[in-house]
């Protein structure tokens, strides 16, 4: 009898555990994103976010918390602390930056959204320190409704600390999306928190339409070879074959030379592989804005001159505001990439986020 009761108890606990943290979930309400999902139940919304291969459930409610499993968050969020400039870009896309009260910035890079830079200057938005070691006292003092964080292997301590201090937070896994449209779709995540669904839909469908249009323009034409890299003291970093960049190359109908490197994110490859695969690359992108001229590039390593695109001058860098405005205008970035790969299809078009290295 006791054993039976124990069995039932174990079964119930297991079942409850499953409800609390569904390990399997297939996003339905989103088209391209793979790491979040939203269900609208009228009086409340269920927001699911994938992080560390697990799905976390958040219950977004307006007046009264419904009796549903998940972390409750009262919406619309009025006082938000964000961790990264990518969050900034997405809130900007849906016109919801007014709710930002704190930003883990640390003053270490320039903010290209002028109004935000101004607010940071005059203290309307408080700089709460760097994303790796934020000033928790300031965050507490701001009394935020919610802190949006991204969690990498380097800043896990922030998540733990917020938990310990009982500051409500939500994990944003937008940076893990490997489709530019998937990334752009994350505006819907912020829209769910701020009740700006309409703006998000408008923004996203525009981006989607533009990207698909670009793809149509370049479809069927000859695919130029593209190499995208960053080099530093003999060590070369390239995006992997399932990365965001590789996907962008696909939309732009370019043949990305490291597309066979499995996985997402970037990889460190040998210089000889870069030269070998890059020696006949038609277009090259150096993914840093600290290089302005071809001579700067050759100063980093003189052997880069062997890359065909460097010889022919079709070598570009990303613009200074790529990581901020570029994320807001994903469609323009894709169009830019298509334009530098297929200049004949985009006559008189000047790329906005890729800058040709000066001779």
């Amino acid at each position: 009898m006791k054993l039976k009761a124990l069995c039932i108890l174990v079964a119930v606990t297991l079942a409850l555990g499953c409800i609390q943290q569904p390990s399997e979930h297939i996003p339905k309400a989103v088209k391209y994103a793979k790491n979040f999902d939203i269900e609208d139940h009228g009086s409340y919304k269920i927001l699911r976010v994938k992080h560390d291969d697990k799905w976390y459930t958040y219950v977004l409610y307006r007046d009264k918390k419904p009796d549903v499993k998940g972390v409750p968050i009262k919406i619309p969020v009025k006082r938000l602390v964000i961790m990264s400039s990518t969050h900034l870009a997405q809130l900007k896309a849906i016109n919801a930056t007014d709710c930002i009260v704190g930003f883990m910035w640390g003053g270490r890079y320039k903010i290209y959204f002028e109004d935000i830079a101004e607010k940071l200057e005059n203290g309307e938005i408080v700089d709460v320190g760097s994303p790796n070691a934020p000033d928790y006292e300031r965050i507490l003092a701001l009394n935020p409704d919610l802190v949006v964080i991204y969690v990498t292997e380097y800043n896990e301590q922030v998540k733990r600390k917020l938990e310990e201090l009982k500051i409500p937070y939500i994990v944003d896994s937008e940076w893990k999306e490997n489709d530019p449209l998937g990334r752009a779709e994350w505006v819907k995540f912020f829209a769910a928190l701020t009740d700006k669904e309409e703006e998000a839909e408008k923004y996203f469908s525009k981006v989607e339409r533009n990207v698909l249009e670009v793809r149509k323009i370049v479809e069927g034409s000859e695919r130029p070879k593209l190499v995208w890299f960053l080099m530093w003291k003999g060590v070369v970093y390239v995006p992997r074959g399932e990365s965001y960049v590789a996907k962008m190359a696909e939309y732009a109908n370019a043949n990305y030379v490291f597309s066979d490197l499995n996985g997402t994110g970037s990889a460190k490859v040998t210089l000889e592989d870069l030269l070998l695969r890059g020696s006949d690359a038609d277009v090259a992108v150096y993914s840093s804005y600290r290089v302005k001229k071809v001579s700067d590039l050759l100063e980093i390593d003189s052997r880069l001159s062997e890359i065909k695109a460097v010889k022919t001058g079709r070598i570009y860098r990303i613009s200074e505001d790529y990581w901020q405005l570029g994320l807001l205008h994903t469609d323009v970035v894709v169009k830019d990439l298509a334009a530098i790969c297929h200049p004949d299809k985009f006559k008189d078009y000047k790329p906005r986020f890729f800058v040709k290295l000066e001779e």
Binding site: Y109, W232, K233, V235, K268, E272, L275, R303
Partner: protein, 326 residues
Amino acid sequence: MKRVVLFLVLFAFSILSVLAGIMIGSVSVSLKDLINALNGSEDIKSYIILNVRLPRTVAAYLGGASLALSGLLLQTYFRNPLAGPYVLGISSAASFGVALYILSGIGIGYYGLVGSAMAGSLAAIVLVLIIASRVKSAVTLLIIGLMLSYIFGALERILITFAESEAVHQFVLWTFGSFSGVTYEDLPIISSVTLLVFSFAIFLAKPLNALLMGEDYAKSMGVNVKLTRIVIVLLSSISAAVITAFAGIIAFIGLATPHITRLIFRTSDHRVLIPSVIVCGALITVLCDIFSRTIVAPIELPISVATSLIGAPIVISLILKRKRIS
């Protein structure tokens, strides 16, 4: 006699390893390709052989040899098996120099990096030399060297705190050592400095043997302890500084190779150890360099991963083996 044979065998292997370093890689290279390349053929294969593989392999050879020698000198002088080329603060000073260069936004060019690392190391060398000429014992110098490392490390962290994140990223990448950045043009500097250090080091064999018994004993044997100290510090620091400037921080070689060499040759006579440690350091480093760039090609592992993963088991197995025999 047996040791001479052993030395010659290892030397032959080290030369073979260089050949292997040039032949092995993402593109397979035949002897014919190599000859083509040497005859001035202009395809990408030849370019890779001459301008990518040759410089990095030769640099790994000389770099490994220098770090190992530097480690041996300092281990004997400090009579401390844990001493290595970086105990006197050379690496932290070099990375402080680089941090100053990158993080303050002066530039990002390769020679700027080499120069700033070199400048940082030289500053540390001057400091250490001034201290070395004043202090009485090796232990004091060791402690002061460690303190210098902490100071440079702290200064570097101050810079990191205030720098732009992209610059910090680039700086962190610098700290993972690699011989990949070495070009053809760098080889004359690297080889002339290292060969000079090697030839001076030969003259240190006798005083080093005396120092094995401690500074007081060496003094009684007629060794000029102060001069020896300064020469040891100078030679070991300069070789570490040059390699760090060109290749970044390479872990383990300087610490482990002297142990490996002592265990293989079963002697603590520096007339044997000095040339042997040079050859062993070179051989191990070239093998680690090949390993790090081919094992998961096209992805390259940091060389310190290979040096530690290959080196540590060798040291452990040699130590256990020796225990069993005795």
